[in-house]
Symmetry: C2
Subunit: 193 residues, 2 copies
């Protein structure tokens, strides 16, 4: 169960984990199972846990004044799910994080994670790399959203995340890309020609 | 000149800088001046330096296939300017960073910054906080872009960044928000009523 996580950490560091460090990680992360449609986080709650996804798929979304859902993030195996704004600021979350398939996670509180960052160099390095990558991904997404056409955004997304296209329904992908279902459907038909 | 930077670091840490650490920081960051319209970074170059803005204002933008500029970021005093994707991945930048006012910066290479992160706890803490905040800001911006109307986006931006509204022209603000000049102009007229 924890093996995927330990492998993930070792892939993101130049200081491989010692046996003692591995034992501390295994002791700290707790196992959590969610069935499809169960919530990892609900709007209005403070996000207490971050989760490393061992198996499954989840989506993070907000709901606007008119009741329309807007997907801000999609997750599958080897992704970390949390609302960092809420976890860091201790404010009620604006988001829901829902299991879209039966999902297994390894969860950790922010305080526990900061403790591991202090004690384990590999975790410090991994979190730095993750933070950098998330920031780069966010910048790319912002740039793509303000500069690219719907066609370009879909093509880029499909090229970078082929698995997401297979595992999430079209209306989730459309919402994530900020385009209508109808536009996405038209783009997909054209790209299949 | 370096005082603003030292103050900034001390405001973002619980382990204030020692005299030795301050001396190392002053020795590492170089002073750079740009006149209005000069470039800090040009598209196609690898971003070698990150810069802490002591005085002035800058904008970061990409240019699409049709020659249209898209502003991804605006900066003023006490902001850090760089293209982190390019600096981290060593890839040619997709962005230009241009001085919009006469600007003074303190610049540092990524290797030098990583060295300071190793040696100075305050810098390690500050960069962690900065990374978290940038990530939160990016998430908010993505959520706002896909969920909010142009009116809501402008109102949020004006409330959070009143100085930006005064120092950048309307067409920059419009580009940053991903709306047309005409829409922004209409929104501003309405909000003044």
């Amino acid at each position: 169960m924890h093996k995927n996580l330990l492998d993930y950490i070792n892939r993101h560091t130049t200081s491989p984990l010692t046996k003692e460090e591995e034992a501390l990680i295994v002791a700290t992360f707790q196992h959590k199972k969610l069935r499809k449609k169960q919530y990892f986080l609900q709007e209005g709650n403070v996000c207490k846990y971050g989760g490393f996804i061992v198996k499954g798929a989840m989506r993070q979304y907000s709901v606007d004044d008119k009741g329309v859902e807007h997907i801000v993030q999609l997750f599958i195996e080897n992704w970390w799910a949390s609302d960092r704004e809420s976890a860091i600021m201790l404010t009620p979350s604006k988001y829901n994080i829902e299991a879209w398939e039966d999902t297994e996670l390894l969860i950790i509180t922010r305080a526990e994670m900061l403790d591991l960052v202090e004690k384990i160099p590999a975790i410090a390095q991994m979190t730095r790399i993750m933070d950098e990558r998330s920031f780069i991904a966010s910048q790319r997404r912002i740039n793509s959203t303000i500069s690219n056409t719907a066609e370009q955004r879909y093509a880029e997304f499909a090229a970078n995340h082929p698995q997401f296209i297979q595992r999430f329904p079209q209306h989730h992908i459309a919402s994530f890309l900020g385009i209508t279902k109808e536009t996405l459907s038209r783009i997909r038909k054209q790209s299949m020609k």
